[in-house]
Protein backbone atom coordinates (compact mmCIF):
# COMPACT_ATOMS: atom_id res chain seq x y z
CA UNK A 1 0.00 0.00 0.00
CA UNK A 2 1.25 3.40 -0.81
CA UNK A 3 0.76 6.13 1.68
CA UNK A 4 -0.70 9.50 0.71
CA UNK A 5 1.72 11.81 -1.08
CA UNK A 6 4.11 8.98 -1.89
CA UNK A 7 3.00 7.13 -5.00
CA UNK A 8 4.32 3.59 -4.83
CA UNK A 9 7.45 2.76 -6.70
CA UNK A 10 5.52 -0.06 -8.32
CA UNK A 11 2.84 2.27 -9.69
CA UNK A 12 5.48 4.65 -10.90
CA UNK A 13 7.44 1.91 -12.58
CA UNK A 14 4.31 0.58 -14.26
CA UNK A 15 3.37 4.04 -15.49
CA UNK A 16 6.81 4.53 -17.02
CA UNK A 17 6.72 1.08 -18.58
CA UNK A 18 3.42 1.85 -20.29
CA UNK A 19 4.53 5.28 -21.45
CA UNK A 20 7.78 3.89 -22.81
CA UNK A 21 6.03 1.09 -24.64
CA UNK A 22 3.46 3.42 -26.17
CA UNK A 23 6.14 5.89 -27.22
CA UNK A 24 8.23 3.15 -28.79
CA UNK A 25 5.22 1.91 -30.73
CA UNK A 26 4.46 5.41 -31.97
CA UNK A 27 8.01 6.19 -32.97
CA UNK A 28 8.80 2.81 -34.52
CA UNK A 29 7.15 3.35 -37.96
CA UNK A 30 9.02 6.60 -38.48
CA UNK A 31 12.29 5.06 -37.41
CA UNK A 32 11.77 2.07 -39.67
CA UNK A 33 11.12 4.39 -42.58
CA UNK A 34 14.37 6.22 -41.96
CA UNK A 35 16.44 3.04 -41.57
CA UNK A 36 14.93 1.40 -44.65
CA UNK A 37 15.90 4.34 -46.79
CA UNK A 38 19.49 3.22 -46.31
CA UNK A 39 19.08 -0.53 -46.79
CA UNK A 40 18.67 -2.30 -50.09
CA UNK A 41 15.34 -3.95 -50.79
CA UNK A 42 16.71 -7.45 -50.57
CA UNK A 43 17.98 -7.02 -47.01
CA UNK A 44 14.81 -5.21 -45.95
CA UNK A 45 12.82 -8.21 -47.07
CA UNK A 46 15.03 -10.83 -45.43
CA UNK A 47 15.58 -9.08 -42.11
CA UNK A 48 12.74 -6.63 -41.72
CA UNK A 49 13.01 -5.84 -38.03
CA UNK A 50 16.60 -4.58 -38.00
CA UNK A 51 16.83 -1.31 -36.12
CA UNK A 52 20.13 -0.25 -37.65
CA UNK A 53 21.30 -0.62 -41.25
CA UNK A 54 23.94 -3.31 -41.72
CA UNK A 55 25.79 -0.86 -43.92
CA UNK A 56 24.82 2.52 -45.26
CA UNK A 57 23.48 1.71 -48.71
CA UNK A 58 23.71 4.99 -50.53
CA UNK A 59 22.40 3.57 -53.81
CA UNK A 60 19.31 5.43 -52.81
CA UNK A 61 20.86 8.75 -53.63
CA UNK A 62 21.06 7.85 -57.30
CA UNK A 63 17.87 5.84 -57.22
CA UNK A 64 15.60 8.69 -56.28
CA UNK A 65 17.21 11.30 -58.46
CA UNK A 66 14.16 11.03 -60.68
CA UNK A 67 10.67 9.75 -59.97
CA UNK A 68 8.54 8.77 -62.96
CA UNK A 69 10.93 10.60 -65.27
CA UNK A 70 10.71 13.86 -63.33
CA UNK A 71 13.65 15.24 -61.45
CA UNK A 72 13.37 14.93 -57.68
CA UNK A 73 14.33 18.58 -57.31
CA UNK A 74 11.08 19.51 -59.09
CA UNK A 75 9.06 17.91 -56.31
CA UNK A 76 11.19 19.43 -53.59
CA UNK A 77 10.87 22.90 -55.09
CA UNK A 78 7.15 22.45 -55.65
CA UNK A 79 6.69 21.36 -52.06
CA UNK A 80 8.57 24.38 -50.76
CA UNK A 81 6.93 26.86 -53.10
CA UNK A 82 3.37 25.57 -52.89
CA UNK A 83 3.46 25.07 -49.13
CA UNK A 84 5.24 28.35 -48.50
CA UNK A 85 3.06 30.58 -50.65
CA UNK A 86 -0.21 28.92 -49.67
CA UNK A 87 0.76 29.31 -46.03
CA UNK A 88 1.55 33.00 -46.46
CA UNK A 89 -1.73 33.67 -48.27
CA UNK A 90 -3.72 31.62 -45.80
CA UNK A 91 -2.28 33.43 -42.79
CA UNK A 92 -2.76 36.95 -44.14
CA UNK A 93 -6.18 36.38 -45.67
CA UNK A 94 -7.70 34.51 -42.76
CA UNK A 95 -6.21 36.82 -40.13
CA UNK A 96 -7.78 39.85 -41.77
CA UNK A 97 -11.03 38.05 -42.48
CA UNK A 98 -11.37 36.70 -38.96
CA UNK A 99 -10.55 40.13 -37.52
CA UNK A 100 -13.19 41.86 -39.59
CA UNK A 101 -15.81 39.22 -38.89
CA UNK A 102 -15.22 39.52 -35.18
CA UNK A 103 -15.05 43.31 -34.98
CA UNK A 104 -18.19 43.82 -37.03
CA UNK A 105 -20.25 40.65 -36.66
CA UNK A 106 -23.47 42.45 -37.49
CA UNK A 107 -22.53 43.92 -40.87
CA UNK A 108 -24.75 42.72 -43.71
CA UNK A 109 -23.32 39.51 -45.16
CA UNK A 110 -20.85 38.83 -42.35
CA UNK A 111 -23.01 36.39 -40.47
CA UNK A 112 -23.76 34.62 -43.71
CA UNK A 113 -20.07 34.38 -44.52
CA UNK A 114 -19.27 32.85 -41.15
CA UNK A 115 -22.04 30.32 -41.60
CA UNK A 116 -20.91 29.55 -45.15
CA UNK A 117 -17.38 28.97 -43.96
CA UNK A 118 -18.52 26.57 -41.23
CA UNK A 119 -20.55 24.69 -43.84
CA UNK A 120 -17.47 24.41 -46.04
CA UNK A 121 -15.39 22.77 -43.34
CA UNK A 122 -18.15 20.24 -42.71
CA UNK A 123 -18.14 19.06 -46.31
CA UNK A 124 -16.17 15.84 -46.74
CA UNK A 125 -12.88 17.29 -47.82
CA UNK A 126 -12.00 14.50 -50.23
CA UNK A 127 -15.29 14.98 -51.98
CA UNK A 128 -15.00 18.75 -52.04
CA UNK A 129 -11.89 18.38 -54.13
CA UNK A 130 -13.89 16.77 -56.91
CA UNK A 131 -16.11 19.78 -57.65
CA UNK A 132 -13.07 21.95 -57.05
CA UNK A 133 -11.58 20.32 -60.15
CA UNK A 134 -14.47 21.75 -62.12
CA UNK A 135 -14.14 25.19 -60.52
CA UNK A 136 -10.39 25.30 -61.10
CA UNK A 137 -11.02 24.30 -64.69
CA UNK A 138 -13.60 27.07 -65.08
CA UNK A 139 -11.05 29.52 -63.73
CA UNK A 140 -8.48 28.26 -66.25
CA UNK A 141 -6.11 27.26 -63.47
CA UNK A 142 -6.03 23.53 -64.10
CA UNK A 143 -2.51 22.13 -63.96
CA UNK A 144 -1.05 25.30 -62.45
CA UNK A 145 0.70 25.83 -59.14
CA UNK A 146 -1.46 28.92 -58.68
CA UNK A 147 -4.58 26.77 -58.68
CA UNK A 148 -3.12 24.42 -56.09
CA UNK A 149 -1.89 27.27 -53.92
CA UNK A 150 -5.22 29.08 -53.95
CA UNK A 151 -7.12 25.97 -53.01
CA UNK A 152 -4.73 25.18 -50.17
CA UNK A 153 -5.08 28.73 -48.84
CA UNK A 154 -8.45 27.98 -47.30
CA UNK A 155 -8.39 25.81 -44.22
CA UNK A 156 -10.43 25.48 -41.07
CA UNK A 157 -7.76 25.62 -38.40
CA UNK A 158 -6.31 28.99 -39.38
CA UNK A 159 -9.66 30.66 -39.07
CA UNK A 160 -10.52 29.01 -35.78
CA UNK A 161 -7.17 30.00 -34.26
CA UNK A 162 -7.43 33.65 -35.28
CA UNK A 163 -11.07 33.78 -34.34
CA UNK A 164 -10.19 32.58 -30.89
CA UNK A 165 -7.31 34.98 -30.50
CA UNK A 166 -9.30 38.05 -31.52
CA UNK A 167 -12.13 36.95 -29.26
CA UNK A 168 -9.98 37.26 -26.12
CA UNK A 169 -8.33 40.49 -27.25
CA UNK A 170 -9.21 43.07 -24.56
CA UNK A 171 -11.89 45.35 -26.00
CA UNK A 172 -10.87 48.22 -23.71
CA UNK A 173 -7.55 48.51 -25.47
CA UNK A 174 -9.20 49.08 -28.81
CA UNK A 175 -11.84 51.37 -27.45
CA UNK A 176 -9.27 53.50 -25.67
CA UNK A 177 -7.32 53.89 -28.90
CA UNK A 178 -10.46 54.84 -30.81
CA UNK A 179 -11.32 57.45 -28.22
CA UNK A 180 -7.80 58.79 -28.53
CA UNK A 181 -8.65 59.45 -32.17
CA UNK A 182 -7.00 56.48 -33.87
CA UNK A 183 -8.60 55.29 -37.07
CA UNK A 184 -9.59 51.66 -37.39
CA UNK A 185 -6.60 51.10 -39.66
CA UNK A 186 -4.29 52.57 -37.04
CA UNK A 187 -5.88 50.40 -34.39
CA UNK A 188 -5.13 47.36 -36.52
CA UNK A 189 -1.56 48.41 -37.23
CA UNK A 190 -0.54 49.81 -33.85
CA UNK A 191 -2.66 48.02 -31.29
CA UNK A 192 -3.73 44.65 -32.68
CA UNK A 193 -0.80 43.66 -34.83
CA UNK A 194 1.93 43.96 -32.16
CA UNK A 195 0.10 41.61 -29.80
CA UNK A 196 -0.92 39.29 -32.62
CA UNK A 197 2.60 38.31 -33.70
CA UNK A 198 2.86 35.17 -31.55
CA UNK A 199 -0.47 33.91 -32.88
CA UNK A 200 0.54 34.72 -36.43
CA UNK A 201 3.70 32.70 -35.85
CA UNK A 202 1.83 29.73 -34.49
CA UNK A 203 -0.73 29.75 -37.29
CA UNK A 204 2.05 30.00 -39.85
CA UNK A 205 3.78 26.98 -38.39
CA UNK A 206 0.65 24.88 -38.14
CA UNK A 207 -0.47 25.79 -41.65
CA UNK A 208 2.92 24.99 -43.08
CA UNK A 209 2.96 21.56 -41.47
CA UNK A 210 -0.57 20.75 -42.58
CA UNK A 211 -0.18 21.99 -46.14
CA UNK A 212 3.10 20.14 -46.55
CA UNK A 213 1.24 16.86 -46.13
CA UNK A 214 -1.53 17.65 -48.61
CA UNK A 215 -1.57 15.34 -51.61
CA UNK A 216 -5.09 14.92 -52.87
CA UNK A 217 -5.84 18.45 -54.09
CA UNK A 218 -2.40 18.51 -55.67
CA UNK A 219 -3.12 15.28 -57.52
CA UNK A 220 -6.54 16.41 -58.70
CA UNK A 221 -5.54 19.88 -59.86
CA UNK A 222 -2.27 18.82 -61.53
CA UNK A 223 -2.07 17.85 -65.16
CA UNK A 224 1.41 16.40 -64.97
CA UNK A 225 3.98 15.51 -62.34
CA UNK A 226 5.55 18.91 -63.04
CA UNK A 227 3.31 20.38 -60.34
CA UNK A 228 3.43 17.47 -57.88
CA UNK A 229 4.64 17.93 -54.34
CA UNK A 230 6.63 15.28 -52.47
CA UNK A 231 3.69 13.37 -50.92
CA UNK A 232 1.96 13.27 -54.31
CA UNK A 233 5.08 11.97 -55.99
CA UNK A 234 5.27 9.30 -53.30
CA UNK A 235 1.89 7.95 -54.32
CA UNK A 236 2.96 7.89 -57.93
CA UNK A 237 5.55 5.25 -57.11
CA UNK A 238 2.74 2.70 -57.04
CA UNK A 239 2.88 2.41 -60.82
CA UNK A 240 2.41 -0.61 -62.98
CA UNK A 241 6.09 -1.06 -63.58
CA UNK A 242 7.18 -2.33 -60.25
CA UNK A 243 8.02 -1.08 -56.84
CA UNK A 244 11.15 -1.22 -54.86
CA UNK A 245 11.13 -0.85 -51.12
CA UNK A 246 14.12 1.31 -50.63
CA UNK A 247 13.02 3.41 -53.56
CA UNK A 248 9.79 4.22 -51.69
CA UNK A 249 11.16 4.61 -48.19
CA UNK A 250 13.81 7.08 -49.28
CA UNK A 251 11.38 9.63 -50.71
CA UNK A 252 9.02 8.87 -47.82
CA UNK A 253 11.80 9.88 -45.47
CA UNK A 254 12.53 12.94 -47.53
CA UNK A 255 8.85 13.88 -47.28
CA UNK A 256 8.65 13.32 -43.56
CA UNK A 257 11.97 14.61 -42.31
CA UNK A 258 11.44 18.36 -42.92
CA UNK A 259 8.17 18.49 -40.98
CA UNK A 260 9.58 16.38 -38.18
CA UNK A 261 12.56 18.71 -37.84
CA UNK A 262 10.32 21.78 -37.84
CA UNK A 263 8.08 20.11 -35.31
CA UNK A 264 10.93 19.15 -33.00
CA UNK A 265 12.26 22.70 -33.08
CA UNK A 266 8.90 24.24 -32.26
CA UNK A 267 7.16 21.40 -30.47
CA UNK A 268 5.22 23.19 -27.73
CA UNK A 269 4.01 25.90 -30.04
CA UNK A 270 2.78 23.47 -32.68
CA UNK A 271 1.02 21.22 -30.20
CA UNK A 272 -0.76 23.99 -28.32
CA UNK A 273 -1.54 25.72 -31.59
CA UNK A 274 -3.17 22.76 -33.29
CA UNK A 275 -5.05 21.83 -30.17
CA UNK A 276 -6.27 25.35 -29.52
CA UNK A 277 -7.89 25.36 -32.93
CA UNK A 278 -9.84 22.29 -31.95
CA UNK A 279 -11.02 23.45 -28.57
CA UNK A 280 -12.89 26.27 -30.17
CA UNK A 281 -14.22 23.82 -32.80
Amino acid sequence: MSGPGRPGALARGLAYAIALLVSAAFLYPCWWMLVSAFRDTQSILTDPLRLWPERLDLAVLTKIRTIGGTDLSVFVLNSLWITGVSTAIAVVVTALGAYALLRRPGLPGFRLLRFGFLLTIMYPYMLLVIPVYIVIWQLGLLGTRTGIILFLSLGPIQFLLFDQFFRVLPKEMIEAALIDGCSELQVLARIVLPVAWPTVGTVTLVTFLLNWSQWFPVLVISRSPATYTLPTALLMLNSELGVDFQGIMAPATLTTLPVVVVFLLTQRRVMTGMVAGAVKG
Binding site: P7, R12, A15, A19, V22, F26, Y28, P29, C30, W32, M33, P48, L49, V93, T94, L96, G97, Y99, A100, L101, R104, L107, G109, L113, G116, F117, L119, T120, M122, Y123, P124, M126, L127, L128, I130, P131, I134, V135, L150, F151, S153, E184, L209, W212, W215, F216, M249, A252, T255, T256, V259, V260, F263, L264, M271, M274, V275, A276, A278, V279
Partner: protein
Protein backbone atom coordinates in the same frame (compact mmCIF):
# COMPACT_ATOMS: atom_id res chain seq x y z
CA UNK B 1 -37.39 49.66 -47.67
CA UNK B 2 -36.29 52.58 -49.79
CA UNK B 3 -34.52 54.05 -46.82
CA UNK B 4 -32.70 50.76 -46.15
CA UNK B 5 -31.50 50.63 -49.74
CA UNK B 6 -30.43 54.22 -49.58
CA UNK B 7 -28.48 53.45 -46.42
CA UNK B 8 -26.46 50.78 -48.19
CA UNK B 9 -23.87 52.94 -49.92
CA UNK B 10 -23.39 54.93 -46.75
CA UNK B 11 -22.89 51.76 -44.74
CA UNK B 12 -20.48 50.40 -47.30
CA UNK B 13 -18.52 53.63 -47.28
CA UNK B 14 -18.43 53.87 -43.51
CA UNK B 15 -17.36 50.27 -43.04
CA UNK B 16 -15.26 50.02 -46.18
CA UNK B 17 -12.20 49.03 -44.20
CA UNK B 18 -13.85 45.96 -42.75
CA UNK B 19 -15.39 45.03 -46.08
CA UNK B 20 -11.97 45.36 -47.66
CA UNK B 21 -10.39 43.22 -44.96
CA UNK B 22 -12.95 40.48 -45.37
CA UNK B 23 -12.98 40.52 -49.15
CA UNK B 24 -10.11 38.10 -49.90
CA UNK B 25 -11.34 35.67 -47.29
CA UNK B 26 -14.88 35.89 -48.62
CA UNK B 27 -13.58 35.28 -52.13
CA UNK B 28 -11.74 32.13 -51.07
CA UNK B 29 -14.74 30.80 -49.17
CA UNK B 30 -17.01 31.49 -52.10
CA UNK B 31 -14.80 30.19 -54.87
CA UNK B 32 -13.22 27.18 -53.16
CA UNK B 33 -15.89 26.37 -50.60
CA UNK B 34 -19.46 27.26 -51.34
CA UNK B 35 -19.37 27.32 -55.11
CA UNK B 36 -17.90 23.80 -55.39
CA UNK B 37 -20.47 22.52 -52.92
CA UNK B 38 -23.27 24.04 -54.97
CA UNK B 39 -21.73 22.58 -58.12
CA UNK B 40 -21.43 19.19 -56.54
CA UNK B 41 -25.04 19.15 -55.41
CA UNK B 42 -26.08 20.35 -58.84
CA UNK B 43 -24.09 17.60 -60.57
CA UNK B 44 -25.85 15.07 -58.33
CA UNK B 45 -29.05 15.88 -60.24
CA UNK B 46 -27.61 15.59 -63.75
CA UNK B 47 -26.75 12.76 -66.09
CA UNK B 48 -23.07 11.84 -65.66
CA UNK B 49 -22.31 11.69 -69.36
CA UNK B 50 -23.45 15.27 -69.86
CA UNK B 51 -22.61 16.66 -66.41
CA UNK B 52 -19.58 18.62 -67.58
CA UNK B 53 -20.95 19.61 -70.97
CA UNK B 54 -22.40 23.10 -71.55
CA UNK B 55 -25.97 21.73 -71.45
CA UNK B 56 -26.19 19.12 -68.70
CA UNK B 57 -29.28 16.91 -68.78
CA UNK B 58 -31.29 17.04 -65.59
CA UNK B 59 -32.35 13.67 -64.29
CA UNK B 60 -34.05 14.55 -61.02
CA UNK B 61 -33.39 12.03 -58.29
CA UNK B 62 -32.21 9.28 -60.64
CA UNK B 63 -28.63 9.35 -59.35
CA UNK B 64 -29.76 9.14 -55.75
CA UNK B 65 -32.12 6.30 -56.61
CA UNK B 66 -29.37 4.42 -58.39
CA UNK B 67 -26.89 5.00 -55.59
CA UNK B 68 -29.27 4.01 -52.83
CA UNK B 69 -30.32 0.90 -54.77
CA UNK B 70 -26.69 -0.15 -55.21
CA UNK B 71 -25.99 -2.89 -52.68
CA UNK B 72 -22.31 -1.97 -52.71
CA UNK B 73 -23.11 1.58 -51.74
CA UNK B 74 -25.36 0.47 -48.91
CA UNK B 75 -22.66 -1.89 -47.73
CA UNK B 76 -20.14 0.91 -48.10
CA UNK B 77 -22.26 3.23 -45.96
CA UNK B 78 -22.63 0.52 -43.34
CA UNK B 79 -18.89 -0.12 -43.24
CA UNK B 80 -18.20 3.62 -42.99
CA UNK B 81 -20.54 4.06 -40.03
CA UNK B 82 -19.22 0.96 -38.30
CA UNK B 83 -15.64 2.04 -38.84
CA UNK B 84 -16.43 5.53 -37.57
CA UNK B 85 -18.13 4.21 -34.45
CA UNK B 86 -15.25 1.89 -33.57
CA UNK B 87 -12.58 4.45 -34.36
CA UNK B 88 -14.21 7.24 -32.38
CA UNK B 89 -14.67 5.03 -29.34
CA UNK B 90 -11.17 3.59 -29.47
CA UNK B 91 -9.47 6.93 -30.10
CA UNK B 92 -11.32 8.84 -27.39
CA UNK B 93 -10.85 6.05 -24.85
CA UNK B 94 -7.16 5.67 -25.62
CA UNK B 95 -6.57 9.42 -25.64
CA UNK B 96 -8.37 9.89 -22.33
CA UNK B 97 -6.56 7.03 -20.63
CA UNK B 98 -3.17 8.07 -21.93
CA UNK B 99 -3.80 11.72 -21.05
CA UNK B 100 -4.69 10.68 -17.50
CA UNK B 101 -1.45 8.74 -17.30
CA UNK B 102 0.70 11.60 -18.62
CA UNK B 103 -1.29 14.27 -16.81
CA UNK B 104 -1.11 12.53 -13.44
CA UNK B 105 1.63 12.73 -10.84
CA UNK B 106 3.23 9.39 -11.68
CA UNK B 107 5.31 10.59 -14.61
CA UNK B 108 7.54 13.57 -14.07
CA UNK B 109 10.81 13.33 -15.93
CA UNK B 110 10.42 12.55 -19.63
CA UNK B 111 6.82 13.68 -19.74
CA UNK B 112 7.52 16.12 -22.54
CA UNK B 113 9.20 13.43 -24.62
CA UNK B 114 6.26 11.08 -24.22
CA UNK B 115 3.93 13.81 -25.43
CA UNK B 116 6.21 14.46 -28.36
CA UNK B 117 6.23 10.80 -29.35
CA UNK B 118 2.48 10.44 -29.40
CA UNK B 119 2.03 13.68 -31.33
CA UNK B 120 4.71 13.08 -33.95
CA UNK B 121 2.50 10.99 -36.28
CA UNK B 122 -0.07 13.81 -36.32
CA UNK B 123 2.30 16.04 -38.22
CA UNK B 124 4.02 13.32 -40.26
CA UNK B 125 2.60 13.27 -43.82
CA UNK B 126 -0.16 10.66 -43.90
CA UNK B 127 0.85 9.11 -47.23
CA UNK B 128 4.32 8.30 -45.92
CA UNK B 129 2.99 7.01 -42.62
CA UNK B 130 0.45 4.68 -44.16
CA UNK B 131 2.96 3.32 -46.65
CA UNK B 132 4.97 2.18 -43.66
CA UNK B 133 1.90 0.68 -42.00
CA UNK B 134 1.12 -1.22 -45.15
CA UNK B 135 4.51 -2.83 -44.83
CA UNK B 136 4.03 -3.43 -41.08
CA UNK B 137 0.98 -5.55 -41.86
CA UNK B 138 2.61 -7.46 -44.70
CA UNK B 139 1.91 -11.12 -44.14
CA UNK B 140 5.34 -12.37 -45.01
CA UNK B 141 7.89 -9.81 -43.93
CA UNK B 142 5.96 -7.21 -41.96
CA UNK B 143 6.89 -6.16 -38.45
CA UNK B 144 3.59 -7.16 -36.86
CA UNK B 145 3.72 -10.80 -37.86
CA UNK B 146 7.45 -11.10 -37.42
CA UNK B 147 6.98 -9.87 -33.87
CA UNK B 148 4.02 -12.18 -33.20
CA UNK B 149 5.94 -15.14 -34.57
CA UNK B 150 8.96 -14.41 -32.39
CA UNK B 151 6.63 -14.36 -29.37
CA UNK B 152 5.15 -17.67 -30.47
CA UNK B 153 1.75 -16.12 -31.18
CA UNK B 154 -0.48 -16.93 -34.16
CA UNK B 155 -0.19 -14.55 -37.12
CA UNK B 156 -2.52 -11.58 -37.53
CA UNK B 157 -4.45 -11.36 -40.79
CA UNK B 158 -3.85 -7.62 -41.04
CA UNK B 159 -5.12 -5.96 -44.18
CA UNK B 160 -5.11 -9.23 -46.14
CA UNK B 161 -7.98 -10.83 -44.29
CA UNK B 162 -11.54 -9.48 -44.63
CA UNK B 163 -12.12 -10.37 -40.98
CA UNK B 164 -9.22 -8.34 -39.60
CA UNK B 165 -8.87 -5.47 -42.02
CA UNK B 166 -11.14 -3.13 -40.09
CA UNK B 167 -9.30 -3.41 -36.78
CA UNK B 168 -6.02 -3.20 -38.70
CA UNK B 169 -7.03 0.14 -40.18
CA UNK B 170 -8.39 1.33 -36.84
CA UNK B 171 -4.96 0.76 -35.32
CA UNK B 172 -3.10 2.47 -38.17
CA UNK B 173 -5.37 5.48 -37.97
CA UNK B 174 -5.15 5.50 -34.18
CA UNK B 175 -1.41 5.86 -34.61
CA UNK B 176 -1.96 8.77 -36.94
CA UNK B 177 -4.64 10.69 -35.05
CA UNK B 178 -4.75 9.81 -31.37
CA UNK B 179 -1.92 12.16 -30.43
CA UNK B 180 -4.14 15.07 -31.32
CA UNK B 181 -6.97 13.96 -29.07
CA UNK B 182 -4.54 13.12 -26.29
CA UNK B 183 -3.01 16.58 -26.31
CA UNK B 184 -6.47 18.19 -26.35
CA UNK B 185 -7.24 16.32 -23.15
CA UNK B 186 -3.85 17.05 -21.61
CA UNK B 187 -4.06 20.77 -22.34
CA UNK B 188 -7.32 20.99 -20.48
CA UNK B 189 -6.37 18.66 -17.68
CA UNK B 190 -3.98 21.24 -16.33
CA UNK B 191 -7.08 23.34 -15.78
CA UNK B 192 -8.74 20.70 -13.61
CA UNK B 193 -9.54 21.90 -10.12
CA UNK B 194 -7.31 19.96 -7.69
CA UNK B 195 -9.48 21.02 -4.73
CA UNK B 196 -12.41 18.98 -6.01
CA UNK B 197 -10.29 15.85 -6.25
CA UNK B 198 -8.85 16.45 -2.79
CA UNK B 199 -12.33 16.91 -1.31
CA UNK B 200 -13.49 13.65 -2.85
CA UNK B 201 -10.42 11.86 -1.57
CA UNK B 202 -11.09 13.11 1.98
CA UNK B 203 -14.67 11.91 1.59
CA UNK B 204 -13.19 8.45 1.02
CA UNK B 205 -13.90 8.17 -2.69
CA UNK B 206 -11.86 5.47 -4.46
CA UNK B 207 -9.72 6.04 -7.55
CA UNK B 208 -12.43 4.92 -9.98
CA UNK B 209 -15.15 6.88 -8.19
CA UNK B 210 -13.05 10.03 -8.27
CA UNK B 211 -12.43 9.51 -11.99
CA UNK B 212 -16.07 8.81 -12.71
CA UNK B 213 -17.59 11.63 -10.65
CA UNK B 214 -14.90 14.27 -10.41
CA UNK B 215 -12.56 14.11 -13.40
CA UNK B 216 -14.93 12.97 -16.11
CA UNK B 217 -17.61 15.66 -15.59
CA UNK B 218 -14.94 18.35 -15.69
CA UNK B 219 -13.62 17.00 -19.00
CA UNK B 220 -17.05 16.81 -20.55
CA UNK B 221 -16.57 19.74 -22.97
CA UNK B 222 -13.30 18.29 -24.25
CA UNK B 223 -14.83 14.86 -24.69
CA UNK B 224 -17.58 16.48 -26.72
CA UNK B 225 -15.20 18.48 -28.88
CA UNK B 226 -12.96 15.48 -29.44
CA UNK B 227 -15.91 13.29 -30.31
CA UNK B 228 -17.31 15.71 -32.85
CA UNK B 229 -13.88 16.12 -34.38
CA UNK B 230 -13.31 12.39 -34.49
CA UNK B 231 -16.72 11.69 -36.01
CA UNK B 232 -16.10 14.15 -38.83
CA UNK B 233 -12.55 12.85 -39.25
CA UNK B 234 -13.39 9.17 -39.50
CA UNK B 235 -16.54 9.55 -41.58
CA UNK B 236 -14.27 11.05 -44.24
CA UNK B 237 -11.60 8.33 -44.02
CA UNK B 238 -9.82 8.22 -47.35
CA UNK B 239 -6.04 8.36 -47.52
CA UNK B 240 -5.50 5.20 -45.51
CA UNK B 241 -7.72 3.30 -47.95
CA UNK B 242 -6.02 4.72 -51.02
CA UNK B 243 -2.60 3.79 -49.72
CA UNK B 244 -3.25 0.52 -47.92
CA UNK B 245 -6.28 -1.42 -49.12
CA UNK B 246 -7.87 0.15 -52.21
CA UNK B 247 -11.24 -0.67 -50.65
CA UNK B 248 -10.45 -4.37 -50.18
CA UNK B 249 -10.16 -7.15 -49.32
CA UNK B 250 -13.57 -8.14 -50.59
CA UNK B 251 -14.89 -4.54 -50.27
CA UNK B 252 -14.53 -4.54 -46.51
CA UNK B 253 -12.93 -1.08 -46.51
CA UNK B 254 -14.80 0.38 -49.45
CA UNK B 255 -15.76 3.48 -47.48
CA UNK B 256 -18.07 6.09 -48.97
CA UNK B 257 -15.45 8.71 -49.81
CA UNK B 258 -13.30 6.12 -51.55
CA UNK B 259 -16.22 4.61 -53.41
CA UNK B 260 -17.39 8.04 -54.51
CA UNK B 261 -13.92 8.95 -55.67
CA UNK B 262 -13.75 5.77 -57.74
CA UNK B 263 -17.04 6.69 -59.36
CA UNK B 264 -15.59 10.09 -60.15
CA UNK B 265 -12.56 8.48 -61.75
CA UNK B 266 -14.88 6.41 -63.89
CA UNK B 267 -16.58 9.64 -65.00
CA UNK B 268 -19.79 8.70 -63.16
CA UNK B 269 -19.94 12.26 -61.88
CA UNK B 270 -23.66 12.16 -61.08
CA UNK B 271 -23.40 9.11 -58.85
CA UNK B 272 -20.19 10.34 -57.23
CA UNK B 273 -21.81 13.67 -56.38
CA UNK B 274 -24.93 11.94 -55.08
CA UNK B 275 -22.76 9.86 -52.74
CA UNK B 276 -20.90 12.98 -51.62
CA UNK B 277 -24.19 14.71 -50.90
CA UNK B 278 -25.44 11.78 -48.83
CA UNK B 279 -22.23 11.73 -46.80
CA UNK B 280 -22.37 15.52 -46.37
CA UNK B 281 -25.89 15.23 -44.98
CA UNK B 282 -24.78 12.53 -42.54
CA UNK B 283 -21.82 14.60 -41.34
CA UNK B 284 -24.01 17.64 -40.73
CA UNK B 285 -26.72 15.70 -38.94
CA UNK B 286 -24.27 13.81 -36.74
CA UNK B 287 -22.09 16.81 -35.90
CA UNK B 288 -25.07 19.02 -35.17
CA UNK B 289 -26.87 16.29 -33.27
CA UNK B 290 -23.84 15.62 -31.08
CA UNK B 291 -23.48 19.29 -30.27
CA UNK B 292 -27.14 19.70 -29.44
CA UNK B 293 -26.99 16.59 -27.28
CA UNK B 294 -23.85 17.80 -25.55
CA UNK B 295 -25.22 21.27 -24.89
CA UNK B 296 -28.46 19.94 -23.50
CA UNK B 297 -26.74 17.53 -21.14
CA UNK B 298 -24.23 20.11 -19.91
CA UNK B 299 -24.32 20.41 -16.15
CA UNK B 300 -24.29 24.20 -16.23
Amino acid sequence: MGAAVAAWPALLRRERLFYALVLPFAALVLVFGLWPIVQSIQVAFTDSYTALSPEPVWVGLANFERVLADPYFRASLGRTLLYTAISVAVNIAFALAYALLLGGTLIGRGNGLFRLAVFLPVIAPDVAGFIVWKWMYNQSFGAVNTLLASLGLPPFGGIADPATVLPALVVAELWKHVGFYTIVFLTNMTLLDPALDEAARIDGAGRWQRFRHVVLPQLRPEILVNTVYAVIQFLKTFTVVVVMTKGGPNFQTNFVSYYAYQKFDEALYGEAAAMATVLFAIVIVLAYGLYAWGERGAPR
